[in-house]
Amino acid sequence: MKITLWGTRGSLPSAGPETVRYGGNTSCVEVRTEDGSLIVLDAGTGIRRLGAAIGNETRRLHILLSHLHMDHIQGFGFFDPLQRPDLEVHVWGPPSTTHDLRTRLTKYLSPPLFPVRLRDLPSKISLHDVSIEGFTVDSVRISCGLVCHPGPTVGYRIVEYGAAVVYLPDHEPALGARSFPVAPEWTSGFDLAKDADLLIHDSQYTDAEYEERPGWGHSSIRQTIRFAALAGVHRLVTFHHDPSHSDDMLDDLMDDARRNGPMPFELIPGQEGMSFRVPR
């Protein structure tokens, strides 16, 4: 699989000279499978540039939404391929306990919040409530599971030919734990992340910021590193950077993390435009 980061920022688009390297677009990750499928993880503002990079030869794609907070769906209406009548688009995401994905998503994709209704987009769009048991996209098996974040939120594990990419963009596994990490069976997201070749994980806060915001659904970089070590992943990509964190600050946070000792995985500061092969 080839994985490309099109948006790594959390909460709010953050364009500016101080965020050029890590990027200011919100969550969007492209996954190209060996079999040629195109899977898009979240539809934050990064999806706009991805849309411009998708050729007309693509006839079908899948958008997997982790949840429906604005920073994960704001780019949806600006994804140009949705204007193509010949394109088949499958959108997967979590329902709530009372509303299906369509009802929830169209709250944003309709006036007055957005001028165009979902049903008026020319492409052939199908919406699917994700099943906790997982589902299949083309030839790829997707596992998903509810994770600790306010509102219905899922993480995804994409496995092709034995290689696993795991996407947990908004995740607070340390919530309520008196010391973290705790036992794996009591850790949100553990089964999804276990032994992943590549884990893309929320690392929004510093430790000091987390102390001010427990329950907001995000992790500090230190917590993310501990989670990745517990899960035995091979590579960790930090993701969902706080909008107030500049490039220089993120560099410093990564340097601090590395100074705390060797890690049992490769730590990769997630920057917009980065690509990875899985397996290497």
Partner: protein
């Protein structure tokens, strides 16, 4: 051991911060966790007791009615909540593993997730004679 459902993880975390006794079981009735206030009434720390099947926890505390008649598992509110998928309440006499008899009032409720998935059940209870 497989990871618990997120709702169960959050239930345990919530219970660990609350001051009323809480007891949590999975869909099969297996005890998953009880908190420190529950330890005081059950007479044993959870770390000592550990996870245990319903057949064990439903008898180990020797539950009886007010007349001293043993209560079968199905008569316990937690088992009823799990099987009937609705809240249940009753007073139960137990003997903690510290040997102290207590009368407790129990309110149990099922834990249901999205799609009506049964995730287990939880009970809150208290010593009716506590001052």
């Amino acid at each position: 051991m497989a990871q618990k459902e997120i709702e169960i993880i959050l239930m345990r975390q919530l219970a660990s911060y609350l001051s009323m006794p809480i007891f949590v079981v999975d869909p099969a009735g297996t005890l998953l966790f009880y908190n420190e206030p529950a330890e005081a009434l059950l007479g044993v720390q959870f770390d000592e007791a550990g996870e245990m099947p319903m057949a064990k926890w439903a008898t180990i505390f020797r539950p009886t009615d007010d007349d001293g008649r043993p209560l079968p598992p199905d008569a316990l509110p937690l088992v009823a909540a799990l099987k009937m998928r609705q809240p249940a309440r009753r007073a139960v006499r137990i003997v903690g593993l510290d040997g102290v008899p207590r009368k407790i009032d129990v309110i149990a409720f099922p834990l249901q997730g999205q799609g009506q998935r049964l995730l287990g059940a939880a009970a809150i209870f208290w010593d009716v004679n506590a001052k």
